[in-house]
C-alpha cells in the first residue's frame, strides 16, 4: 500500500477492506448470526494472494486491530489471529495460486480454522470461550463462499488497475 500506488488504485484496496470491516459488524437476524463468514479474513487472504509484496503481515495486524476495537474484544486478540493468517497466506501464496478453485477453497478453510483456533485459545485463556461446535461454522461458510468472492475481488482488482 505504501509503495507509491496512486490514489485510484489505493482506493480499491481501502474500499474492499472497509466494506469487509463494515460487513463484519453489520447486524444480522439472530438466527443467521452464526453463519456470518469472517469477511475481513477472506478479503485479507485474497489481497495477500494477489499482491503479497504490498499486502501482508502489517496490514493483517492493522485489520485485526480495527476489528478488535469495533468488537470491543480483548485488544490484540484478532490482531494476532490476522497477523498469523496473513503470514501463512503470503508464505503459501505460490502454491495457493496454482490450485484449482475447489482445492483453493479447502486450503482457505484450513487457514480460517487456524485463525479461529488461535482466537479461541486466547478467549479460553481469559475464560470466555464459547462451548458450542457452531463456533466453527464461519470458516465453513467462508470456504464455501471463497470461489465467488475470489471472482468478485479479481474483477475489482483488474478494474482498479492493480495487476
Amino acid at each position: 500500500m505504501r509503495l507509491g500506488l496512486d490514489a485510484h488504485r489505493r482506493l480499491t484496496l481501502v474500499a474492499t477492506c472497509t466494506v469487509a470491516v463494515i460487513l463484519a459488524i453489520m447486524p444480522f437476524p439472530a438466527w443467521a448470526e452464526p453463519f456470518r463468514p469472517d469477511w475481513v479474513g477472506l478479503v485479507l487472504i485474497y489481497w495477500c494472494l494477489a499482491m503479497p509484496e504490498r499486502f501482508s503481515v502489517g496490514t493483517g495486524w492493522l485489520l485485526g486491530f480495527i476489528q478488535d476495537v469495533l468488537y470491543g474484544s480483548l485488544l490484540g486478540s484478532n490482531a494476532l489471529g490476522k497477523t498469523l493468517l496473513a503470514f501463512l497466506t503470503v508464505r503459501l501464496h505460490l502454491q495457493l495460486r496454482m490450485f484449482p478453485r475447489w482445492q483453493q477453497a479447502v486450503s482457505i478453510f484450513g487457514l480460517l480454522i487456524v485463525n479461529q483456533l488461535l482466537v479461541l485459545w486466547i478467549r479460553g485463556a481469559i475464560g470466555q470461550a464459547p462451548d458450542t461446535f457452531i463456533y466453527w461454522t464461519p470458516s465453513v461458510v467462508g470456504a464455501l463462499l471463497w470461489p465467488w468472492l475470489f471472482v468478485i475481488l479479481r474483477d475489482l482488482r483488474r478494474r482498479g488497475g492493480l495487476t
Partner: protein, 285 residues
C-alpha cells in the same frame, strides 16, 4: 543496504514482522486484560470507531423504518388495544405499589436497616451492530457524557440484561448475562437458595453450576438478582429454571435456565442508577 546472511536489513522479512507484531499483540492483550491500562486509549479508539458503527447500523435502521412505514392500521389498532389493557393492569398494580413501598420503608426503619430508595432509570437506544461472533454484547447510544459508568446494570421490561463493560463518550458496550464470560449472583425466589448464574454464549441459555442434588430448586423456579457483590441491584428477575438433569455420575446437577429479559428483541434498554441509601449504608455503591 547491508546484507546479513543473504537478507537485506533495510526491509525486515515477513517472519521478523510476524514475530514483532505477535509480540506487540500479546503485550496489548496482557495490558488490556491484566491491568486495564488501556481504558483511556480504548475510549479514544471507540470514539474513532463510532462513525463506522453508525454506517454499519444504517441498513438495519432503514429496514426497521420501512417495516414501520408499512405497518397496517389493523396492527396499530391491535397494538394500541393491547397497550391500553396492559397499562390498566399496571396502573392497578402501581396503586398497591405505593402503599407497599411505604409499608416496606416503615418496616425497614423499624428494623434499623437502610431504606431502599427507588432506582433512577434512563432509557437508551441500541446501536444496531453485531459484536464479535459468539460473544453476547450490545452497544447502546449512551456514554460517559450521560453519566454511564463501568459496572452499571442494564435491564429491559422483563429483567436484568447485563452490565456495562466499556464506556466511550457517546456509546457504551454492554456484556449480556448470556455471554460466556459472565456470571451473576441470584436467589431462588421460592426457596431463597443462593447461587450463581453463568452465561454460555448461547443467546437463550444460562447455566447454574455447583448445585448438588440436595439443593432446593425446581424446574420453573424464578431466579432473581440477590445484590451480592454489589454490581447488580437486588430483586430484579434474571432467569427461569428450564431443565434440571441429575446425572448420578456427576458431582453437581446440570441446570439450564432461560433469561427473563428479552435479550434479542427490542430497540431500547434501560440503564439503572442505584438509589443511594441514606445514612447507614454508606459503603454501598
Amino acid at each position: 543496504m547491508i546484507n546479513v546472511f543473504g537478507r537485506s536489513v533495510g526491509t525486515p522479512s515477513n517472519f521478523t514482522r510476524l514475530i514483532l507484531l505477535s509480540a506487540l499483540s500479546v503485550a496489548l492483550m496482557i495490558l488490556d486484560h491484566r491491568g486495564h491500562h488501556l481504558e483511556k486509549i480504548r475510549a479514544g479508539l471507540n470514539v474513532l470507531a463510532y462513525p463506522i458503527q453508525l454506517i454499519a447500523s444504517v441498513p438495519a435502521y432503514v429496514g426497521g423504518s420501512i417495516g414501520d412505514f408499512f405497518t397496517t392500521r389493523g396492527t396499530l389498532r391491535q397494538d394500541n388495544e393491547k397497550l391500553l389493557a396492559e397499562r390498566q393492569g399496571l396502573n392497578a398494580k402501581v396503586q398497591q405499589f405505593d402503599a407497599l413501598e411505604e409499608e416496606n420503608a416503615r418496616l425497614r426503619r423499624m428494623l434499623g436497616s437502610a431504606a431502599q430508595v427507588a432506582d433512577k432509570v434512563l432509557a437508551a437506544e441500541l446501536v444496531e451492530v453485531s459484536s464479535e461472533p459468539f460473544t453476547r454484547k450490545i452497544v447502546v447510544a449512551k456514554g460517559s457524557r450521560d453519566g454511564v459508568y463501568v459496572g452499571q446494570s442494564v435491564i429491559d421490561a422483563h429483567g436484568i440484561m447485563g452490565q456495562v463493560t466499556q464506556v466511550a463518550s457517546q456509546v457504551s458496550r454492554v456484556t449480556l448475562i448470556t455471554d460466556a464470560g459472565h456470571a451473576i449472583p441470584v436467589l431462588d425466589n421460592r426457596s431463597g437458595l443462593r447461587m450463581l448464574v453463568f452465561g454460555t454464549g448461547d443467546p437463550d441459555t444460562l447455566k447454574v453450576p455447583y448445585l448438588t442434588s440436595a439443593s432446593d430448586i425446581k424446574e420453573g423456579d424464578l431466579l432473581v438478582s440477590s445484590g451480592m457483590g454489589g454490581t447488580f441491584p437486588p430483586g430484579y428477575p434474571v432467569a427461569q429454571v428450564r431443565r434440571i438433569v441429575n446425572d448420578p455420575n456427576e458431582a453437581f446437577l446440570a441446570i439450564t435456565a432461560k433469561p427473563a429479559a428479552q435479550l434479542n428483541h427490542g430497540k431500547q434498554v434501560m440503564l439503572i442508577w442505584r438509589g443511594t441509601p441514606p445514612k447507614s449504608g454508606a459503603s454501598a455503591k
